[in-house]
Symmetry: C2
DNA sequence: TTGATATATTTAAAAACTTCAATGTATTTA
DNA sequence: TAAATACATTGAAGTTTTTAAATATATCAA
């Protein structure tokens, strides 16, 4: 079963989102927190200006890897396990072809 | 068990290597060929000039995803399953933290 | 409503990436 | 040895990405 062009685009986007040290740190922080965290916490941990963090979070969100949920003044970000699983499946398939 | 900085660098490099449509196509071609292929075949399948393909293959090689093996005048590229597995393990861990 | 906090957007500059033409190197074949 | 084939490297143009300052918006608290 060949991979659709559309799927490949998603894979490309997810890979790109994962291809940055800061975004990997953000992801790790979110998952360590039990799958969710706030932007302000991230700011404490990563040495970047606030707009940069906002930008990285946006890229992770647009790739579908995390999902934002508004909680009053803050945001809660949750790892999207099903998107990650689809990505893993694609990579697994490379081994079995 | 926290991810070492060194490991994170490797993860970043692999993700970056995977973050390009052409490189994904090259990888898929190699794996479909039973885990190995020659540069010249890739040239037939992907619409890029030879130096571009050489460049992409180099990036995949430097990330450790494929391994080159000289075969006379040609090259044979093989998927490095163990590097891919380490990458998969890292991503799996994100889910279980 | 005013001030404070959390996050997003715009803009602009620097850095990194992609691509290809030109050229170089290694190997095979005639 | 000369020509042909396979791949690498260099250099340069165009594109994308990263970052932060400035600014905007939304919500909470007083």
């Amino acid at each position: 079963m060949a991979t659709k062009t559309q799927d490949l685009k998603a894979i490309e986007k997810i890979s790109k989102a994962l291809g940055d040290r800061n975004r990997l740190n953000i992801l790790q922080h979110i998952t360590k927190k039990g799958g969710c965290a706030q932007c302000s916490e991230i700011h404490d941990i990563i040495d970047l200006a606030q707009p940069s963090i906002s930008h990285h979070v946006k890229i992770l969100t647009e790739a579908g890897l995390i999902e934002p949920e508004k909680e009053g003044r803050n945001f809660k970000y949750t790892l999207n396990t099903s998107v990650l699983n689809d990505y893993l499946k694609f990579l697994e398939k490379l081994k079995n072809d």
